[in-house]
Amino acid sequence: MKLNPVPHALVLALGLAAIGTDAYAAATPAGTSIINQATATYIDSTLAARSATSNTVTTIVQQVASVTLSAGTAKNGSVNGTVTYAHTITNNGNGADSFALAATNNGAFTMASVAFYADANGDGIADNNTAITTTGTLQPGQSVQVVAVATLPASAANGAANNLVVTAASVFHSATTATATDVTTVAPASVMDITVNSAGSGAPGAGAGAETAAVQTKTTTAGNVTRFTLYLNNAGTSTDTFNLSSSTDANFGTTTLPDGWTVTFKDASGATITSASVAGGANTLVYADVTPPAGATPGTTDLYFRAQSPTTNVVDRVHTAVTVNAAVGAELKVTKTQALDANCDGIADTAFSADNITTGAVPGACIRYEITATNQGGNAVGAVVINDLTPANTTYHLYSLATGAFTTQGIVIAPLPNTSGLVQATVGTLQPNGNAKMSFGVRINP
């Protein structure tokens, strides 16, 4: 601070600033004596400089109480659970004082119990199990930290709120108080919501229960594992442990998986688990590794995952699916069906079936065959050729061109009528899930 004299201004020496700071100090301590004495100077009749000094006047500063309490906070609590609120009490009076601690309830429900405990280190956790009712003596300006621990009643309804009004009252002057309000809202101890791939309310599978359609479908091949990333979201207030299970039944009437299928749950570190602990207001990642057996039939299987607390029965399910594609080199599936054509008009008398024909297959009667090739792989397969031979004791039968050997894709060749030999369809390329069907008839030798 640089000081310059100006007209009608006072020139300050730097050190003098300290004098003025007295007035800004904290409240003058009780018992302080404030002493004042006036003076005068004058010139007497002999032109001598004289002075006069008054009596001294002493004013004793009296104690005044003043207290502040740090503001309240809002928390969720669950029935029969406890909530802990930290408060700082400061003696803003000018003398040593202690402060009585009390709490009153208002709002939708009343706490089953409320007690105060010392929290000297200010970590928001009671230092010990000794309840206190006053702060003990605080010097002017001194603060103390305490916690109010309240127990929610069993009857409190979810969503109901309690206002806990905490009061610190001066023992020196009981009318001097400070209050703060802590708000407790009842929330379920634990709430489960399984989601897939990401956590939270917008993630696939968010919401209660099993979804009607799979929220994620993974594709694998027989014998190879595929991994689902699941999140267990606990929107409650308390930590809970959830058992993990899987089923092809949305209602988990059984948790037996199809033959040879395995599901292994793993935690984020890759360790195999059968249950997972999830803190209130948090989520936990769980992997579900699904392995169809080596001989699994290609196709899509609905698979449900469930997390259920054995203690609270809080549960949620999520709907997923696994599509098994045929392994490379085994993509093509060929099926053959047959039907009787008793009058040999080239038209099957019954539906085609892989079952044995037990009646009507008499000498002179005809049989119709259908051979279907299906690409069950994930990629197109090329140069598909369907081959079949007329069986022993039969000859190729051609009633009309329209009922002769036929293929739904490509070209077909067949023996001359009434001879035996190769029936062949040159199909070409089949896309994934694509198929081609070759059909022909034979006549049982008379």
């Binding site: 640089k2 100006v6 003058t28 002999t46």
Partner: protein, 170 residues
């Protein structure tokens, strides 16, 4: 051996009495020459529905306002001239209450040496610029009034209010 006669004894008493009278009269004259007395009183300013009133007090709570009144009386036989009345703002949390000085024409000092008419100002350099600012009244430590001449037997009263720091009083 000298024995005193009644006359001698009377003379001695007379001399002693005269000396006593002389001493008394000298003391009286001295008091007259140094004849300005100062009488200080403190009052608490109490506000009520009927306005403020002053109550003599020897106690104060933080936040209270105390009015100091000083009566200067010339008890001598000759005039006192160039009377400068000085009232400190006592330490211990007291601060001058702005515009409470009576008479209103008053000077103030932060150090008891240099006085200037209120309000006090000072020039400081802030962010490279010279700024003239008003000194907060809470920094005033002394008040001074120029009372001029005080004739024999006459008195003059000055007063000012001080507030006890009560920043944290509720």
């Amino acid at each position: 051996m000298i024995t005193s006669t009644p006359v001698q004894t009377f003379k001695r008493i007379l001399i002693a009495l005269t000396a006593l009278v002389l001493q008394l009269s000298c003391a009286f004259v001295f008091a007259a020459d140094n004849g300005v007395s100062a009488d200080l009183h403190a009052f608490k300013v109490v506000s009520s529905a009927n306005g403020q009133k002053l109550v003599p007090t020897a106690e104060a709570l933080p936040g209270d306002t105390i009015e100091y009144q000083v009566t200067y009386r010339n008890t001598g036989a000759t005039a006192a001239r160039d009377v400068l009345a000085t009232l400190p703002v006592p330490k211990g949390g007291m601060a001058y209450v702005a515009d409470s000085a009576a008479p209103a024409k008053v000077s103030a000092s932060l150090d008891g040496k240099q006085y200037a008419p209120v309000p006090l100002t000072r020039t400081v350099v802030r962010e490279g610029k010279q700024v003239t600012e008003t000194v907060p009244v809470s920094e005033y430590r002394f008040l001074r009034w120029q009372l001029g001449e005080l004739a024999p037997g006459r008195s003059a009263t000055v007063s000012s209010r001080m507030r006890l720091d009560g920043a944290s009083k509720q």
